[in-house]
């Protein structure tokens, strides 16, 4: 018994009435208006999936070819489902999977190259082209903005301004930078905040926080931290970092697309790549600090002792852990500093009176740095 269907030949947009039978492993499609019979191997026939017309319509095809056979009544559809054994089988394409893996690997490699080679290279190059005066203006603005995140104690202003204290800090910086080639003049300010921290903004702006002066046991420890920040200044790290993270954010934002899970991955990847960058920069700044301390005749042992205490406190789960999260393992840093200390002379960096003045620098405060 022949079933009826419509044949679409894939060459003209007409539909041709056809009689369909199955014989000898072949589906025979006899076109009614043309004296022609087509034979499709039953094993190779596939049905279109995810179609709207459940049982009433079945569209058959041979994978990779344009012609279609449309069956439109329930009886015929049921017959075809039993006659063709592999209607719903996936048409396998072994080259397809290989292509997906190959292209995915290629895309991942290009993105990695972009994130870890091209963007850092471009940022480093362009950071050098920023006019120092413009960078200093920007740095001042960033320093002021960053200052707003910290609240000064009740009744005091945000920036410490005791003349003798600032002079002592200036003397310390002079001694550390003597003979060093900095891209721009240093501007050091003391922020009236309890955090044990210091940071470098673009354009030679360095901010030391009051908490650091309170927590340090000697002027040498302060000098060690200051020398480390000077390393960031010498290497133009803040500007390089800012340019690089702008590029990184642009790439990862795109790759994430619009799905929440992917956005979380992008955020994690960005944190990772920024931290990776930061670790490089921190190690370089440490090396610079050790070199400057040695040149100034200050024992880098101070750097080591300061790091040791930081590590002990950070281990206790204090908020320092968060502050120093982007820094290389403190134990490692103190070991490196200790090795450097073995080769250097030891001269006090400040006189006892100067050190006392520096510790009292927040006796007076003002609103502007």
């Amino acid at each position: 018994m022949a079933h009826r269907g419509w044949y679409l030949d894939g060459e003209r947009a007409g539909r041709f009435a056809a009689r369909v039978t199955a014989a000898e492993g072949m589906l025979e499609i006899a076109l009614e208006d043309a004296d022609e019979t087509l034979r499709w191997p039953l094993e190779e026939i596939r049905a279109l999936g995810d179609t709207a017309a459940g049982q009433e319509r079945l569209v058959l095809r041979l994978p990779g070819q344009d012609p279609r056979l449309v069956l439109e009544d329930a009886g015929t559809v049921a017959w075809a489902r039993s006659a063709c054994p592999k209607l719903t089988a996936r048409s396998r394409d072994p080259a397809g999977l290989r292509r997906v893996l190959l292209w995915s690997g290629g895309a991942a490699a290009v993105l990695a190259l972009l994130l870890f080679a091209a963007i850092p290279l471009l940022s480093n190059r362009m950071a050098r082209w920023i006019p120092p005066a413009a960078e200093a203006r920007l740095g001042a603005a960033i320093r002021d903005q960053a200052g707003l995140f910290f609240d000064a104690p009740e009744g005091e202003a945000r920036w410490c301004s005791d003349r003798a204290g600032l002079a002592a800090l200036g003397k310390m910086a002079d001694r550390l930078t003597r003979g060093a080639d900095l891209p721009y003049p240093l501007e050091i300010a003391v922020l009236n905040a309890p955090a044990v921290n210091a940071f470098a903004a673009p354009g030679g702006h360095v901010v030391v926080m009051r908490g650091l002066l309170d927590g340090a046991e000697s002027a040498e420890e302060v000098a060690a931290v200051l020398a480390h920040e000077l390393g960031h200044v010498a290497h133009r790290d803040p500007a390089r970092l800012a340019l690089r993270s702008a590029g990184t954010a642009a790439v990862l934002g795109l790759a994430a697309g619009d799905v929440m899970g992917a956005a979380a991955i992008a955020a994690a990847a960005r944190a990772l790549s920024d931290a990776h960058y930061a670790r490089d920069a921190e190690t370089a700044a440490d090396a610079y600090a050790a070199e400057r301390l040695a040149a100034a005749g200050v024992s880098p042992a101070a750097l080591a002792s300061f790091f040791d205490r930081m590590a002990a406190e950070a281990g206790g789960g204090s908020r320092l852990a968060a502050l120093f999260a982007s820094h290389p393992a403190l134990g490692e840093r103190s070991r490196a500093a200790r090795e450097a200390a073995a080769h250097s002379a030891d001269r006090p960096v400040l006189s006892p009176a100067e050190w006392a003045a520096l510790q009292q620098v927040c006796r007076r405060t003002r609103a502007r740095p």
Binding site: R4, L8, D9, G10, E11, A13, G14, R15, L48, G49, D50, T51, A52, A53, G54, R57, V59, D66, R68, E72, R99, V100, W103, S104, G106, A107, V110, L111, L114, A118, I119, L122, M126, A127, I130, A134, E135, R137, A141, I142, Q145, P202, A239, A242, L243, R244, A246, G247, T248, A249, A250, V251, G253, L254, G257, D258, V259, M260, G261, I265
Partner: protein, 397 residues
């Protein structure tokens, strides 16, 4: 059994999709997408398009969507690599310019710098038009009817600069030249489109679209009266504002639907095959806004039920300790599931009803001429609609 339409009668569009089948397909593929961190979305999109296309069956022959998830995924990889490189260089150079030209005394100082950097994406505007053209070309090249492929010629860059130009003109004229943009861009797309070896042509003039703008233009003076009245706190002004806002919202849909219909009636394919459409803007507006209201209602009710159920199980979690915060996990999971519901609900309540109305009120005149249309070669398009996907140019499906 469908039969060949008579020579004289037009071939009317038919739509036969079921809401529940579409909903379950969208939900299943949506869950898979979430479970695979978004990777499955290319295959999900493919399956939903197959379902929608097969629901459209003018003359008893359904459209067929022949795109694959794999080619979309590969296209996305290409787009990400190309756009990623472009975005990286652009972001670094823009930041550099921002730093080098920074003036704290300029109005806004840092704030202005941040604003410029955050909106640097505007430089991507031509790329959006580029991606939209490529996506349309991909869509057409993967659509067949009666075994014959649709297709589109290359021309994405021409579309990109025209799109930017007309968008700028529309903005500069406060929307008065919107019909110019609508007409010229659609004509650009249409005149490069083919069904098999039959070329599509857009006829008519851009000024004919002003008729479609009537409700929108009427709502402008109404809004111009209502907003100041509402700000001044005059009595009944909020009712006036609501009314004017309603007319404006309706006017937007009216313009989209009517401009589409007017232009469709001026389209021809091949040798004298005329196309036509006469959708009812009021029906579309009702289905569109009503559909969104239904989505919002379902999501809102489920959200309330979730919160109520959660409050019953866990009285008041103490967010400071870990156990308390962990108690929030089921709530977050519930929220995530609700988010996953939005897209299937939108398909069922908004996309499909609107699409069904548009299809049912469209037709092909002299369909007998269609049988002479021949096949066209396939269009490889390695990037598929990857650029549109990477730029989040989602569209309804």
């Amino acid at each position: 059994m469908a039969t060949e339409p008579e020579a004289g009668s037009p071939l009317q569009g038919r739509y036969s999709g079921s809401a529940s089948a579409l909903f379950w397909l969208a939900l299943r593929t949506g869950l898979l997408t979430v479970a695979t961190l978004g990777l499955y979305r290319f295959w999900a999109k493919t399956r939903i398009r197959r379902k929608l296309w097969s629901s459209i069956d003018p003359g008893g022959d359904a459209l067929e969507y022949t795109g694959t998830g794999t080619e979309k995924f590969l296209g996305f990889l290409i787009a990400v690599v190309v756009l990623g490189s472009l975005a990286a260089v652009l972001a670094v150079v823009l930041s550099f310019l921002g730093f080098a030209l920074f003036r704290p005394e300029a109005p806004g100082g840092l704030t202005a710098l941040n604003l410029v950097l955050q909106n640097a994406g505007a430089i991507f505007a031509p790329l959006y038009f580029f991606a939209a053209y490529r996506a349309r070309r991909y869509l057409l090249s993967r659509t067949t009817w009666r075994g014959i492929r649709f297709g589109m010629e290359p021309g994405a860059w021409g579309y990109a600069w025209r799109g930017c130009l007309y968008a700028a003109l529309t903005g500069a004229s406060l929307g008065l030249l919107w019909p110019l943009m609508t007409f010229r861009l659609e004509a650009y797309l249409c005149d490069r489109s083919w069904f098999g070896d039959a070329r599509l042509r857009q006829g008519g003039r851009w000024t004919m679209l002003y008729k479609a703008m009537t409700p929108l233009l009427l709502s402008v003076p109404a809004l111009a009266l209502a907003v100041p009245a509402w700000v001044a706190g005059l009595p009944f002004s909020s009712l006036l504002l609501l009314g004017a806002g309603g007319v404006f919202a309706y006017g937007l849909v009216h313009y989209r639907v009517e401009s589409f219909a007017i232009m469709a009636r001026h389209k021809t394919a091949g040798q004298g095959i005329r196309l036509g459409a006469a959708p009812r803007p009021r029906v579309v507006a009702l289905r569109y806004y009503g559909g969104w209201a239904a989505v919002a209602a379902v999501i809102g009710l489920c959200g309330l039920a979730l919160l109520a159920g959660f409050a019953r199980i866990v009285p008041m979690p103490d967010l400071d300790d870990t156990a308390g915060a962990a108690a929030l996990v089921p709530l977050l999971a519930g929220g995530l599931a609700l988010y996953g519901l939005v897209s299937p609900l939108r398909l069922v309540f908004v996309t499909q009803p609107v699409l069904a109305h548009l299809v049912r009120h469209a037709w092909v005149e002299t369909p007998i001429l269609l049988t002479s249309v021949g096949q066209r070669p396939g269009d490889a398009m390695a990037d598929a609609d990857g650029f549109a996907d990477a730029l989040d140019l989602g569209g309804a499906f």
